[in-house]
Symmetry: C2
DNA sequence: CACTAAAATGGCAGCGCTGCCAAATACAGC
DNA sequence: GCTGTATTTGGCAGCGCTGCCATTTTAGTG
């Protein structure tokens, strides 16, 4: 930590003024070259680039953002990192953000809307260019901060409800409904459900609603359900199915709120000698790679999370009008139903 | 986008000056209250909080950071989001960062050191409080920027080499070596390897080196290997094992560079009727939940990535001296070896 | 009750950059 | 060569906040 000659001009940070002095040019000229904005001669450009390189100048965007009242930061708020959906979403968003030089500031709420509020408030303090948030459910204060800030907002992965500005995703309700129709078509009638606590994950709750609605329409009631507290995991899904089956409701199918749980359920069946799907059908949600390439591919719904991230990020930065963009999900009939 | 009365004082952003005027106090006093720094009376505090609330004031950290030459941003640069290791790392880092009010600016390199350089340079422009980067390998320019910037840096998940400042992780070489010893102890002799291209992922390459070194010491050569281009996935692992076995080298064990690949390999065996481990042993790396709770638990090495993230973030913010912190990995003998 | 130490507050320069405008220079056409 | 227009450049205010210091207020003491 006591380098003296490491890197060009180590220790003291180089400023625009120093660059301009060393180059014998005005600050504004240097600034224009660096931002490639406004006009300047080719020689000036070369001179600036050379000096910048010599001095190892790194522009201070903090000052830049303050002066120009705008940053290249995009705030992204997601519920979790333990569910592959959200890393995939980030990844997709990155595909749009990176080429344009935007940077992601990421916050994780743990499915807590209060925490979301706090995160958004503190991100707002950086005056980001835009916000990407998950879902349409927010606290009243979050909503008003977002609206009042004037920052563009994209709400992702859910189109069942009122959005603030841009909404990109699919109907969770319809996804649940499609899953129910699939199981009904396949002839299952004594169906159970396993998912996270409803108050935690509203998208999962909406899928459940869609699922149950379709069952009702066919005069069928959900036979049983088991709710899971905590993170999505194989382990939790496996244990939950065991508990569910132990109640002896003679189920012929179980709908899992996501593939992590579903894989756990499938594993429980394998271990317990329950034949899938002849004794019990299993259906998941999300279309995880591991489920799709398992020996017995999981019946699931492939969700377009990376596309949602990519589309949302690009639309929000393009500055178009508030819209709702539906991105299709796809039911994948595997070998577990 | 044309709200007029949404939120308190929508449209125009409220500044510190306005708050101070509304409260009948000086700007510095309000600032002190807001940062809970310096001294002020209880009444003043109450007054400020009330006015802030009424006006919906959100401090502008851009200005704050410029004035105080320091931000609450932490730059985190990871190679990928498709390998669970990195989301877990972020998650761990968040456990340390969040309570202290730090925010993560995240960049993904796709295992490209050139891209890492670009990302770090542009993050440096925000004058972050610290950097968390993965691995010890960087371009010369990245290194000198990092050193020259004076920002604290933690290099993660690898301790085999020279660090810049703080290093938190474990020896990838030793992890590979431990894996080799495990397979040798179990009596396997014709061992194959499946992993990503060596130039892409240096940590994976180091594990491979450690693995091969131990084999050599026992006079055993690696029987065969198959390298994979692209993302870690079940699909890729499954296909790679198929290709590897097709070459007819009569392997009795395969060491996979990570659990995603290994699960794919395991699936290939199940589908092809290859009995595991009697005909072929399979070993992975990372200790994924899904492998550990599979009917036939995967032999793997559990890596402490979340702890690494957490420890690194807390140490780097505490401001202690440069150190190397070793966090233990654990070999988990499953049922596939 | 004057007198000092401590607590609370206000004023103001300046962080490093950008936006605006004016000045200087280059390039036309006649 | 000279005026008119386009292109390059420089100067400077100010973005909103913090750090420092001076000032005022309050509490404490003999």
């Amino acid at each position: 930590m006591s380098e003296t000659t490491r890197g060009p001009k180590a220790g003291k940070t180089v400023t625009l003024r120093e660059v301009s002095e060393a180059a014998g040019l005005g600050m504004s000229t240097v600034s224009r070259v660096l931002r490639n904005h406004g006009s300047f001669s080719a020689e000036t450009r070369a001179r600036v680039i050379q000096v910048v390189d010599e001095l190892g100048y790194v522009p201070n965007r903090v000052a830049g953002a303050l002066a120009s009242a705008g940053s290249n930061l995009v705030g992204i708020v997601i519920p979790s990192l333990h569910n592959i959906v959200f890393p995939d979403l980030l990844s997709g968003a990155g595909r749009s953000l990176d080429p344009l030089g935007y940077q992601s500031v990421i916050g994780v709420t743990d499915y807590d809307l209060g925490r979301e509020e706090v995160l958004i408030q503190s991100m707002l303090a950086w005056r980001p260019a835009a916000f990407l948030v998950v879902g349409l459910e927010h606290t009243e204060k979050t909503r008003s901060m977002l609206v009042g800030s004037g920052v563009r907002v994209a709400e992702l992965l859910d189109t069942d409800g009122e959005g603030i500005d841009l909404v990109v995703g699919f109907s969770q309700h319809k996804a649940g409904a499609a899953s129910a129709r699939h199981l009904l078509e396949k002839g299952y009638r004594r169906i159970g459900y396993i998912g996270p606590a409803f108050d935690a994950d509203s998208r999962s709750a909406k899928r459940y609603e869609g699922f149950r609605t379709v069952l009702s329409q066919s005069g069928i009631a959900l036979a049983d359900m088991e709710l899971i507290a905590g993170t999505s995991s194989t382990e939790a899904g496996r244990a939950a199915l065991e508990r569910l089956l132990a109640r002896g409701k003679k189920l012929d199918a179980v709908y899992f709120s996501n593939d992590d749980f579903a894989m756990g359920g499938l594993f429980h069946c394998i271990v317990s000698g329950i034949s899938v799907p002849s004794q019990l059908a299993i259906m998941g949600f999300n279309g995880l790679d591991i489920g799709r390439f398992a020996p017995q591919p999981l019946t699931t719904v492939m969700t377009p999370r990376a596309e949602v991230g990519e589309i949302a990020a690009s639309l929000i930065l393009e500055g178009g009008p508030p819209t709702v963009v539906e991105v299709a999900f796809e039911l994948i009939a595997g070998a577990t139903s």
